[in-house]
Structure formats: C-alpha cells, structure tokens
Amino acid sequence: MNISGEMTQAFIVCISAIFTNNILLSYFLGLCPFIGCSREMKASVGLGLAVIFVMTCTCVLNWLVYHLILVPYGLEFFRFIMFIIIIAAFVQFVEMAIERFSPYLYQRLGVFLPLITVNCAILGASLFMVIRDYTLIVTIGYGLGSGIGWFLAIFLMAGIRQKLSNDSIPKGLQGPGITLIIAGIMALAFIGFAGVLAGQ
C-alpha cells in the first residue's frame, strides 16, 4: 500500500475510532476515570486532552517496540507486560517534564497524568492496534481517534452530569449509578453511527 492509501486508511480508522468504535462507549474501556472525573466540564477536558496525548504517543511507542523488538525476537506474547511498562514509564516521564517546564500545562493537563497511568483504555488501544495489524501510520490515526473518542465521551458525560447536578435524582442512583445509566444510553446513541463507515 502506498503512503496516500495508508493516509486515507488512517483517516478512516481515526473517524471510526471516534464514532463507530468508540473505545469507551463500545468497548467500555477506561470507565474508572470516566465515572470519577466526569463531574465537571473543566476537569473532563483536561483529562480528555491528557488521554488523547498519552494514547497517541503510547500507541506509536508500543508499535515501534512491538514491531522492531518483540516481533524480530519472537516475543509477541510479552506484549502485555511490555506495553504496561512502557505506558507507565512514559506517563511518569511526561508528568515530570511537564511539571518542570510548564506550570500552566501542568495545571491544565499534567495533574491528570497519574490518573491515567493505569487507564485500561490506553493499554486497550495498544493491544487493538496489534490485533488488527495496523501499520505505523494507521496506528497514529487509531491512537489519535481513540483518544478523541474517549475525550468526546467524557466531555459529553460531564456536560450531562453538570446539568443533572441541579436535578433531584433518587438517592440510590446518585453518583456512579446514574452515570452508568447515562453511559448506557450514550452507547446506544453511538450505535447510530454504525452505518456511517463501512470499512475501517
């Protein structure tokens, strides 16, 4: 496949990762911070941006490690551990760097980084890209798309929850309860995108 063909595919994969195959709403990955940090729009934007950034970077890093180190040595079965180590180390490093060099960025984004070190959506995206045998360029599109998809989901959820905060919700449903129900309804709504893109 030539470069422009790959670019087209990367774009399609990116769009489908945002809408039809949203990593949160169709695979339900990364639910913990999704529920925990979706009380306010501001926090959700910061967390969402951090996820986009980390997901894109770690997908690329993991692709490189997987294809340049693990595959040649026949160690594909080690990808789980490898990916986890790389994600953790990367997040740590980025957090330290941001904290040092840009207090503004740290305030907006950096504080969320430790929260997503163990976000399963990040690991999930890396594993999917391996299973689906994406090329490097497509992986970039996929990582970016998955991140944006997650961002979109938590951003919408935060908007809904902020609106709900003034409503009277039955006691047993307050907090995570109502959030999960809303997540379910949002997931149903996102199924509506299923027909938009036939291929990925």
Partner: protein
C-alpha cells in the same frame, strides 16, 4: 529451544525495562530536583524535606497521618487540609471535592498539592496530635474497693500534648477472657505539664473486657498501647464561675483540669461536687484538700449518699444533685461541667437548668 526463548525473553525485557528505568532515574535527578523545601505546620512545627512529592506522601513519611481512603489518587476527597502559602492555584482535580467556603479558606487536597517550594499549612490540632503511644504501666494504686488509678509512662513517643479533659483509648490485648483486641476510652487524670505520664482512673465493670484486664491481668512493668487524645470536654476561656459535678471515676478529667488550673494560677471560682454512696468510696480527698490550698477560689464538696453509722461522716449527705440544689441559689451566671454515669448527668442537667443555668453552658462527658 524453550530455554533459549525464555532466556531471550528475559534478556530483552530486562534490557528494555532497565533502559526505561535509567531514563526515569535520570529524569528524576534532573527534572524533579526542587531542592530542600520547608513546610511550616500550624505556625509552630517546621519540616525540611526534599521537594517533588505530593504533600500527602511527605506528611505520611513524617508520621503525620492525614486521612485518605484512595491512597492519593484524588478520588476520595478526604485528605483535605489548609495550605496557607505556596500551593499555587487550585487544580481541576481538586475542585470537585471542595465547596465554595473551603476554596475561600484555602483548603486543598493534600494528595494533589505537590511540594515544590516552601509551604505553610494548617492541620487540625486534633488530627495533628492523635497518634498511637506505647507506654509502660508504672504504678497501680487502689483508690476504693472497685476503683484504681493506673499510671503509665510513655515510651514511644515519650511525650504527649493534650488539653485537660481529653480522653485516650486504651488497647486491651487478646487475653484469657477476651479473644479480640478492644479499645476502651478513659479520661486522662494526670497533670498535662507532665508530658510523659498518663494517669487513668478506672472503675471495675463486672464482666467488662478492658476493666477486667486492667484489674486482674495488668501488672506494673507491663507494656500497653493507647491512642489519643480525643474529646471536646474542656474548660471555656471565660472567667465565669463554675459548678462541677462528678461521681465515681468521673473524677478523672477534673484532676487533670485542676492540675492545669494550678499550673496557670487560675483564680476562677469553682465548686466541685463529688458524690459517692459511702464514705469509703470517696477518694483523692487529700489531693483535693491540697488543691483547695493551692487554688484560692476552689472548693471541694464531697457528698455521701448513705454514710454508714460507724463511718462518722459530718459532711453533706444525699444525692449529689440534692446537695447542689441545697448549696446554690442561682446559677444563671455559672457554667456547668459534668462527668459521670448517664443517669447522674441527666439528673444534674435537670437540676442545673432549674437553677437558671442555660443548657448551652452545660458541658459534659458522658460515660456510655
């Protein structure tokens, strides 16, 4: 073949992990070096620590325990404390857990605040002071047939700071008659100025786990554990005349308070009504007489409900509440301090209110 694969796997993974660790270690040295930072707590205690970690983890390392349920991930919102200076602006991770008043008061989540420069923080005195103490039983003294005074010398840490009226929780270890560890609360009866001593006045409760342990098993020289100090029972800062009412081991907090009053040379007018059933159940009367000499406006009034004929009692008789009614005409300018059984406290509140005392000026420590 398998061995070779394994060896290869171990080598490759180790190499990558070591590489990452090296990068992080280097980054840690160069990026996270914020130098020594000074944390001033409640304007009195100063800590100098290496910057770069969260405030919560720094304080925990210094054995100052801030409650936290999530372990510093910013999801429980329990580790609140006031940061007066040096924390930077409020982070979006903290905002959802703080209300408007807390934000105005500089309350922060200590797990989210990073120590990167000098900080001034404020921790609730209670939170700051409560901790576990190891102590050695130094003396056991009979006060009456069922009340003993236990003196403990603190060993680790060797000193405790508390306001008189506080109580501690004594740990009863597993022993013959109890298969589980239990904590029981006892008011401190010692002089707050003697920082390494905790006196407890304990009455034997038939079948009680902790009191049975203290009376029958605890020996001088034994090591015990306790934590504290807890409680809200304390003297107000006013100069109002005080009426104290106590019975049995309810004596304890007042002994401690009297020591403190003596230390500060208090002139507050105080009358202490102490009730017992029989003359032989009165205790620490000599010490009370000494306090009467040391404190010009302190008066101790022991009351015996039913003095035996051979006991030769010529003081007040009847219930402690009856004696209070007989002796006080109008208590509207007084403050009431009560310590004892729930029955005695309830009865005393009724009497004090009848004598004109406002209910919110009655302070008590009820033994449940």
């Amino acid at each position: 073949m398998i061995v070779l694969t394994l060896l290869k796997a171990v080598l490759v993974i180790s190499a990558i992990a070591a590489g990452l660790a090296a990068v992080l270690a280097v980054a840690d040295v160069f990026l996270r070096d914020y130098g020594p930072c000074k944390i001033t707590i409640n304007n009195e205690k100063e800590l100098t620590i290496k910057g770069g970690d969260s405030l919560l983890s720094v304080l925990t390392a210094e054995k100052i325990f801030i409650p936290s349920a999530c372990g510093g991930r910013g999801t429980c919102g329990l580790c609140k404390l006031k940061v007066l200076e040096g924390a930077g602006s409020l982070l979006p991770t903290e905002e959802p857990y703080l209300d408007k008043k807390e934000i105005a008061d500089n309350v922060r989540l200590s797990c989210q605040v990073k120590v990167r420069n000098d900080l001034k923080i404020q921790i609730l005195e209670e939170l700051f002071a409560i901790r576990e103490y190891k102590a050695r039983c130094a003396e056991i003294k009979d006060l009456t047939h069922d009340i003993k005074l236990f003196r403990f010398e603190l060993t680790d840490p060797a000193e405790i700071k508390y306001t008189p009226g506080k109580y501690v929780q004594l740990l009863t270890p597993v022993y013959e008659k109890s298969s589980e560890e239990v904590y029981r609360a006892y008011s401190v009866a010692s002089d707050p100025a003697q920082k390494n001593i905790i006196d407890l006045i304990i009455r034997l409760v038939p079948g009680g786990i902790c009191t049975t342990y203290c009376f029958e098993y605890l020996k001088v020289g034994d090591e015990v554990k306790m934590n504290g100090p807890y409680g809200e029972f304390r003297l107000t800062d006013t100069d109002a005349e005080m009426v104290w009412i106590a019975g049995g081991s309810g004596m304890a907090p007042f002994v401690s308070i009297l020591h403190e009053m003596k230390n500060s040379n208090s002139q507050r007018k105080t009358t202490y009504y102490f009730g017992a059933n029989r003359v032989e159940e009165l205790f620490l009367t000599e010490q009370m007489k000494q306090f009467e000499k040391d404190l010009p406006n302190f008066k101790f009034v022991p009351i015996v409900a039913q003095p035996g004929e051979s006991e030769n009692w010529n003081g007040e008789t009847g219930l402690v509440t009856q004696a209070v009614e007989r002796n006080i005409k109008n208590a509207s300018d007084c403050e009431g301090y009560l310590c004892g059984s729930p029955g005695m406290i309830d009865a005393a509140i009724v009497v004090l209110k009848k004598l004109g005392l406002n209910e919110n000026k009655i302070y008590y420590d009820k033994f449940a």
